[in-house]
Symmetry: C2
Subunit: 160 residues, 2 copies
Amino acid sequence: MTPKPDAFHSHDHRHCSDQGLQRAEEILQSRKLRLTPVRRQALQILLAEHRALGAYEVLERLAAAGFGNQPPVAYRALEFLVEQGLAHKVRRLNAFAACMHPETDHAPVFLICRGCNALAETPAEQVRAALNAAAHAAGFTVERTSIEALGLCPACEAAA
Amino acid sequence: MTPKPDAFHSHDHRHCSDQGLQRAEEILQSRKLRLTPVRRQALQILLAEHRALGAYEVLERLAAAGFGNQPPVAYRALEFLVEQGLAHKVRRLNAFAACMHPETDHAPVFLICRGCNALAETPAEQVRAALNAAAHAAGFTVERTSIEALGLCPACEAAA
DNA sequence: TGGGTTATGTTATGATATAACGATAAATAT
DNA sequence: ATATTTATCGTTATATCATAACATAACCCA
């Protein structure tokens, strides 16, 4: 089995980034929604790193690219991307990350490395199934989930 | 099978609250840690409701009970309770709730009702097992987790 | 009873997030 | 083409959540 490239393994990152943008364009076009310049730039900013960025970090970079530098500029773009499933909010970090699987896997499980801040999305079906079962047993109807693990990625674990 | 009383079902709430305090006392005594007046009051405040309270809500009530009314007063008490497993932080809400199972189940799964704000802790073993398996497959070492579902409790679902 | 440790009060500030409103640009209808 | 509507963006102001730093007080135990 060939290990899939993810945040925890070195890979051609331009590929992630380009693919991410392109898929975003396709998805939004099919929904008749607009990937405006701020939104596009915000997504590029998130795609540039496999880690979560705070809204104010994103804002700084947007401002550097010539957009307004008031908080709503960043929050609005991020909110839009999150609504469209192109980005996620990582609750543990109060920060945002580009979605790596925008068409599938829409309720992600995050692995957050506390060593290098890398963030990976990992397949969620079984975790989600278990959570749904537990919720169902309590008579609870699940609408949204956040499932996050903090720990060490392989490299940081090896270094420790 | 008799349904266990939980946040989603009516029950003698004084029982929850009294039991919670008593268990806290036992646990802290066995660890030679002190349940000081602020900490005790903060825990009572959380135990008073089956929902998560923001730090500033807790602070208000602490102040009303005669304690200092500056944010660190609440945050310190809450931090202590969380460290000792007597309370949890609900990341989705940036808020805190008393732990309902202080000796077992130390990494909870939360069910948050968006209708009435009730919060339930539900058994987590299977969910955690699935999450650990997914993390392991990525070579990731899990240290802490947050697993939270937002949705509707039985009563709010029925009302909807 | 003195000296370390733990806990609390207080001031100040940092970090995260949203409400509200006016200006602009895009889509739509005629 | 132009008016009308709707979506987006810039900006001001403020709300909400959280912690750093330092002084004072309580506890503990040798």
